[in-house]
Symmetry: C2
Subunit: 649 residues, 2 copies
């Protein structure tokens, strides 16, 4: 407390720029140490501490450590906010490799990185170019000046801020003496802040009082109460989704899922169990076959990749170790739709089906699972309305996703009770809640239709209130339209005959209208909303949303002064930010046997061994840390040399 | 069955050497395939199959896949026996690295190897020099002739067998045509057999009827009955020992153990739990301290190594991630004796105690634990007879070992009910049971005393029944004495004034007796039994016992004809084999901070960083497969570069 009072006194004396001075004074001891002592104070009363220290610092609470939350944390400037993270897992998992973990192609450890490591990097490097940061570390307590340009994927439309920012890392003699003489009116001086992480689950969001209730999920009999409250100024919900059983009886009890790392490890053990149980003496061949019948429900990317992995595991490793039963194994993929991988290009899905047929993996399309018991699974074949029951050794359930209870409860509070899934606006802000954002699988963006605003747009565009719109007038608003309603752009891209947006304003004969009235305007834009589709629940979307939101939070203050968004058609002025816009980089579907299929931007499709290598390189490069990158690559190498491990641990 | 009947017919025709022909005929199809088809028959009825196939083939059942059983299986000639292995774990674990697994220095996967992989090698390579085997593989279906000389550690006194052995690996055209013309009277021709492995636990040994009851330990709801019987001609018990709680209340419920791989993984998760629970908001500092108090009961090598690992984990990795609580951590080692590592040289144990004091690891010697609750541990300090209770976050119990229930039950059957642990004779055969052997931690060797046999020895030595023994007469029997009673050799080594065994026959003045009578003979040998000590329960002993037993089983037939053991003093002739003799290669004690202590043969002691590197190289070289070797080394490298992973999985 002594140090705090001293600081407040200091800041009282130098009214001009108190924050700068506070930072300098703290700077007198090692920055690292300060962070520690702070956290020691804070851990005692985290929802009081920050207020004492820096009242003006807003409190951001982030729920979850998945793709969305982690990419948010990676870029969030912790010096601007008092950041707290609440998640039942103290690590980030590279989920696209989960299917590989189920068969030991990749080890579980290789795809997880402690969230604290990720945040630690953030603390030392801030959210600017890492290499710069390191160099500045080496020159202990040096100075880093940088323009705020970011990787283009994140902010393709960056503007230079007026005031350069100075971030001081480490504050030995060099840094301190430098700060003493630095003119704070020329620079915006900052020290990196600190992120607190609690391994707990948010069980209740109290939107009215801006606080959440958390409960630790540690089973061990350790002392201390398990529940605590956190207050927030901004809440970011990134808790992801849960498995959707569609209330099919017996699924929860008898099926494996493939969402968490633990699930993958459990599946791996169970697969070995099936083989060990099948070769035991005294079983009938029928019993052996049953134990070795692996069923995958859901022909999406996850299910298909798992089926492929399982087939490879069996084909490359297990036949050698369990020759006696190698001919009794059966893998079945059950898909409710007419094709597996139906979110992919049909070239890919048909290739996948052919390959599976060659590999002896059965694909049963058009089947709806009615119930799952410990011994068999019952399903209805849609085509011929008949119900059949098959015995199984192991069932993996990888169908759609559902809303978590805590989110469901929150939806009722903010008047979204009737909705299927939590809805946000185009800026990822939860509808009906000013200071809560939702990113990743737990929410969906409700994109506003052009036709809903068509009249306002017309009025806004029609400057001279002539009741008609000239092409020039239209051109003035067209950029804002394109930004505010991304579907217009998609629509233009989808139409060959439309080179330019103004081509919309042509009469059926293709001649330019000199002027259009409301009705013609409506007609012209009547189809643009047809291109609206909600974003898929993928890591790619979540990561982009996290990065987008971190940028908004980092620029909150600047953009309040000079907003960078499109003009408001209803109401005056501009939106503070551009709405979130998703950029699709394509998707992969590994099909086993060193073959993969890829859907690339621009309707490209790539299939085969080369694609598998593309897959390897992309997934290696996308790893969150050099540690996991090295581990994943060495796992792949190990698998090539020695095969997969079949020890039952 | 067709093929079997054909074989039996074939063998009936050529009475001379049926076995040879059977093998050749099987040889007509690929050896590998035959093995498979066999196993397909056998898995159905394993205790019938072998009898049908080769009635003369004895059935060996091995219990366990630990050090003893695995080293037995690695060298056992599967062509001589119908070998079956029963173990609840389908892998071999390199247990000396378990403490490293508890903190993630080494991954669990890196120290386990599926027993089937180990046995597969055995099948392809037999039990002779592996390189020879490979070369013979490459020349598909070639021929391997080899003298039976083995690594010296195993058989230092090998004799050349009269008949060379021919082992045919793979039987394509080359191997088959070769076998057709080969004169079987000159060679003893063999094909490698097959080892069957059941992942199950032996729950009951029925010594009277030569069969065991096994129960599968797979929890999953798979079909087929879980229990089955196996018949044996020879049973090898290598099930190891279980943790000994000395009936201390609360230990089973509230303590972690460190015997299985799962234990180590559980400890790793729990350590992270303690930290995550300790930094949660709203705890008092006292509660934080409690959650971060790690107690190790037992100051043996395992406990000490775990304490050291834990300290390194904390010191090198966790302080960075949990700075807020780094000063609240406490590690305590509770030892009932006066010193930790009391089985080691006192130079080592005192060094260890000093180092721990420097590292801030508390060592409480002379304490007996009375009870363990979920929150605290109660113990009695022997010196000042006082009872104290300390709160804890995690307790690891690594004291002595106890007998498993199945072994205890077996002991009652064979009249060893009163004994503390299963006893075998010097040939590892269980006392009171002709065809059962016990190796590893589950048994102990009851070495016969010289003084028990002193009279018989004297009579046997006194050829002319003169009632006195000349030095010459003594010299005739001395070799047999040294082999039959290893303690004599140890005694001579321990006495400086005794250069040669005949020096025993000196009168107190040091002059040679020309002749000794019974009383003088007794006097001379009166002290030799003092050097008898039972072998420690270490991996080293277990591995040597397994290798020894495999050799005995492989040479059973030859040694029945010409026994290689010492002469029988009671009764005539010689013993079939030499008794088992343990060769101590020293032991390690890693002490953390890249320092280790080593006790080497010949009373050498090595301590420090160099010893740690010796430790690394020895443990890397001792790995059971190249896979695990690569993994362990890469784990060590990974740890050096990136530190240990603290993700809670």
């Amino acid at each position: 407390m002594a140090i705090l009072s001293f600081l407040s006194r200091a800041s009282r004396i130098y009214k001009g720029y108190p924050k700068l001075l506070v930072l300098c004074t703290l700077g007198l001891s090692s920055g690292g140490l300060v962070a520690y002592s702070e956290s020691q104070l804070d851990t005692r009363a985290p929802h009081v501490g920050p207020n004492e220290k820096e009242p003006e610092k807003k409190r951001v609470v982030v729920l979850g450590t998945g793709w969305a939350s982690t990419s948010l944390l990676k870029d969030l400037d912790a010096s601007l906010y008092d950041v707290q993270v609440v998640s039942p897992r103290n690590y980030f998992a590279f989920t696209p490799l989960l299917p590989s973990v189920t068969c030991g192609t990749v080890e579980a450890r290789s795809i997880v990185e402690p969230i604290r490591n990720i945040v630690k990097k953030l603390l030392s490097n801030g959210y600017f170019n890492k290499s710069t940061a390191r160099s500045s570390w080496s020159s202990s307590g040096g100075l880093v000046t940088y323009s705020e340009s970011q990787p283009d994927t994140r902010a393709p439309h960056e503007k230079e801020p007026k005031k350069k920012r100075v971030v001081v890392l480490g504050t030995g003699w060099a840094g301190t003496s430098l700060l003493k003489d630095l003119d704070a009116s020329l620079y915006d001086i900052q020290r990196k802040g600190e992120v607190k992480i609690w391994e707990a689950e948010c069980v209740k969001i109290d939107a009215a009082n801006n606080k959440i209730l958390c409960r630790s999920n540690i089973e061990n009999n350790l002392v201390g109460n398990r529940e605590f409250f956190l207050e927030y100024d901004y809440l970011v919900i990134g808790v992801g989704a849960q498995v959707n059983t569609f209330n099919t009886p017996g699924v929860k009890e008898n099926c494996h899922f493939l969402k968490e790392v633990e699930d993958a490890q459990k599946i791996r053990r169970s697969v070995i169990d099936c083989f060990e149980a099948a070769i035991l003496p005294g079983l009938s061949e029928e019993e052996r076959r049953t134990n070795l019948h692996f069923i995958i429900v859901g022909g999406g990317p996850t299910g298909v990749e798992f089926a492929a992995e399982l087939h490879d595991f069996l084909d490359e490793d297990l036949v050698k170790l369990y020759p006696a039963v190698k001919d009794l194994v059966r893998i079945t993929v059950i898909q409710s739709g007419d094709h597996i991988l139906n979110t992919f290009d049909e070239r890919i899905s048909s290739f996948a089906e052919k390959k599976f047929r060659r590999d002896g993996i059965e694909v049963q399309t058009g089947c709806r699972v009615l119930s799952v018991s410990d011994k068999d699974i019952t399903m209805k074949v849609k085509s011929k309305e008949e119900v059949c029951t098959i015995p199984h050794g192991l069932v993996v359930w990888s169908t759609g996703i559902g809303t978590r209870p805590v989110v469901r409860d929150f939806m009722e509070q903010v008047g979204q009770a009737k909705r299927r899934v939590l809805e946000t606006n185009e800026w990822l802000r939860v509808k009906g809640c000013e200071n809560v954002y939702a990113i990743g699988d737990c929410a969906t963006i409700d994109q506003r239709k052009v036709m809903e605003d068509i009249l306002i747009i017309f009025e806004a565009a029609d400057k001279d209130n002539s009741g008609t719109l000239t092409v020039e007038e239209f051109k003035d608003v067209v950029d804002d339209i394109l930004i505010r309603y991304p579907q217009v752009d998609h629509y233009l891209k989808s139409q060959q005959n439309l080179k330019d947006v103004t081509d919309l304003l042509k009469d059926p004969q293709g001649n330019d209208w000199q002027e259009v009235n409301v009705e013609q305007f409506k007609l012209a834009l009547s189809h643009v909303d047809s291109q609206m589709k909600s974003l898929p629940a993928t890591a790619q979307v979540a990561a982009q949303q996290g990065a987008y939101l971190s940028r908004c939070l980092n620029h909150r203050i600047q953009c309040e002064e000079n907003p960078e968004g499109p003009r408001r058609f209803r109401g005056s002025g501009r939106h503070q930010f551009r709405p979130f816009q998703y950029k699709h980089f394509g998707q992969f579907a590994p099909l086993g046997g060193e073959q993969a299929a890829a859907e690339l931007p621009g309707d490209w499709v790539s299939i085969g061994h080369s694609t598998q290598w593309l897959w390897y390189s992309v997934y290696a490069s996308k790893q969150v840390s050099w540690r996991t990158r090295m581990l994943v690559v060495s796992d792949w190498t190990r698998r090539f040399i020695f095969g997969r491990d079949s020890s039952r641990i």
